[in-house]
Symmetry: C2
Subunit: 121 residues, 2 copies
DNA sequence: TCTACACTTCGGCAACAAGCGAAGTATAAG
DNA sequence: CTTATACTTCGCTTGTTGCCGAAGTGTAGA
């Protein structure tokens, strides 16, 4: 039940749902998420940590970049069920249209270019 | 997305998960839930209200009793998906064994007898 | 009408969660 | 070694949530 609670609580925040929806298009760097959400790096890092600890997201470190992707086939059933649920339920979410557009632009760009989110911007 | 958030947040509390699991056995009176959870009437009423507002639970007033049941076929897909998810994910939750035992005793009893939870006890 | 009872709402307190900026890690590059 | 950079952790403030008891609502029965 603990796992279930962690998952449900992780899903109970709009920023985290937006990230999950974005990750359905494939792996993302943390700086991508920062640019997508428009929140401070520390806040976004914490959001991704919550998703990670709930098991919903896998993390991969490559140099100084940190990539995240949705949990895969080997994830526990509770996680897979949750991801299936949000995937279908978010399909009709109008709030995510702007995210999809912004995300398409981010994916085309190099992470190095995106990462300007740490200074200024 | 608002609906999804309400559902996820409603699922993010152990007391509410316990009630949902209990309701899989059929309709329950509020006083049943109070006795099951061992929390104060006002607290339990609020929990059920949260579940109700998320659409996960239907309420039926009969005299001064208030009965709750899981949302049915006519519920929106997000709700049905969520209920399906928790139903399968809670199947292996060891913490609910004690609840099942207590619940069986409560169901055998008349609501009028159960409702002693308001004074003393 | 008056009381009893099932439930809800209100007020208040303690714990938690989301947000930020500043400081800390760690890796890549000069 | 030093600097720059991608990310994380810390300290703090603010808003939310869970809990209770007390007071309020509405219905059933005496």
């Amino acid at each position: 039940m603990r796992a279930l609670l962690d998952i449900a609580r992780a899903l109970g925040d709009p920023a985290r749902l937006r990230v999950l929806a974005a990750l359905r298009g494939g792996e993302l760097c943390l700086c991508h998420c920062i640019a997508l959400l428009g929140l401070s790096p520390s806040t976004v890092s914490k959001h991704l940590d919550i998703l990670h600890r709930a098991g919903l997201v896998e993390r991969r470190k490559a140099g100084r970049w940190c990539y995240f992707r949705l949990a895969g086939r080997d994830a526990p059933p509770a996680v897979r069920g949750a991801l299936r649920w949000v995937a279908t339920a978010l399909r009709t979410a109008a709030e995510l249209r702007a995210d999809r557009a912004r995300l398409a632009r981010l994916r085309r760009a190099d992470p190095r270019a995106v990462a300007g989110c740490y200074k200024g911007s």
